[in-house]
């Protein structure tokens, strides 16, 4: 049980990473232990996959101590356009 919910995580990511699109899904049936996220932010531009994920991990460092499982798909706005087109 963590004290975080998807809305809180979305707002934090939006605030910290100036996301153009962010969607966090609680996959733990509400207990707050497992989330998956799609994050689109210009902050990812020019970063490798590893660096993008690190940026998200460090943004949510405090929260991830309590969240048992967190999976992310992190895209630049350009990548996101391609993903949506698929």
């Amino acid at each position: 049980m963590s004290k975080y919910d998807s809305k809180y995580l979305e707002e934090k990511l939006k605030r910290e990473l100036q996301t153009e699109y962010v969607s966090v899904t609680d996959e733990s049936d509400g207990c707050g232990g497992k989330f998956s996220a799609v994050i689109v932010s210009p902050a990812f531009s020019g970063k490798t996959l590893l660096q993008k994920h690190r940026l998200v991990n460090s943004t949510l460092a405090e929260e991830l101590k309590e969240i048992h499982a967190f999976s992310q798909k992190s895209y630049t706005p350009e990548e996101w356009e391609k993903v949506k087109a698929q």
Binding site: L49, L50, H53, R54, L64, A69, F70, S71, K73
Partner: protein, 216 residues
């Protein structure tokens, strides 16, 4: 070194936070079985020499400590490495206590013999094979959904790899998170470089970049 009876919380903290691995017996005077375990610890203390230190404390005298470690029955034995509990045995299971003590004594002596720091050890581990996976469990018995999915994907590539079970080594488990600045497991390394966790492996697979990345 004989088993030390600890009667003050500061003394307890000093022991468990020491560099030396500590075997702590949570006991009660009224429980006869605690005596058996204590005798066993005295014997183990003789065998393991200076590699481990053994303490015994009255669980009821330290309710906060007992609560913290969820001591539900006496005797309970907890193994501490630099302040954190790395293993435990609940009840009178002399065989388990003895096996775990010996294993910890062995790893203490191998670390001392090679003079390796944790950082050197981690570096050696991530470079152990061109493709290294740090996971919960092993390839034949992954013990977490993410590790299991990861092994499934990597097996598809038919590339050779080695795994390290972080559940069996608390020092590596915590140390590698800091060393590689990556908070979760599984972790995949190619030629000593962190590639990422399951999400990244999945994304590389979707982009048809997995095989080339894993080959390095």
């Amino acid at each position: 070194m004989p088993v030390v009876n600890v009667s003050a919380a500061e003394e307890y903290q000093k022991y468990i936070n020491a560099d030396k691995t500590t075997v702590a017996l949570f006991a009660a005077d009224w429980a006869e079985q605690c005596g058996q375990v204590k005798d066993a610890l005295e014997e183990l203390a003789k065998i393991t020499g200076e590699k481990l230190q053994f303490i015994s404390l009255n669980a009821e005298q330290f309710p906060d400590i007992s609560m913290k470690h969820q001591i539900e029955a006496v005797p309970t034995v907890i193994f501490f490495a630099k302040g954190s509990a790395v293993d435990r045995v609940d009840g009178v299971d002399i065989a388990a206590i003895s096996a775990k003590s010996k294993k910890l004594a062995e790893s203490a002596s191998s670390a001392a013999a090679t003079g390796q720091t944790l950082e050197e050890r981690l570096k050696a581990l991530i470079n152990k094979a061109p493709l290294m996976i740090f996971m919960k469990g092993d390839r034949n018995g992954p013990r977490c959904g993410f590790s299991k999915q990861l092994i499934g994907i990597v097996n598809e590539t038919n590339l050779p790899y080695e795994t390290f079970d972080i559940l069996g080594d608390e020092e590596v488990r915590q140390g590698l998170k800091t060393y590689s600045d990556w908070p979760t497991y599984p972790q995949v390394y190619v030629k000593g470089e962190l590639i990422g966790g399951l999400d990244i492996i999945k994304e590389l697979l979707a982009n048809n970049e997995l095989e080339s990345t894993l080959k390095g």
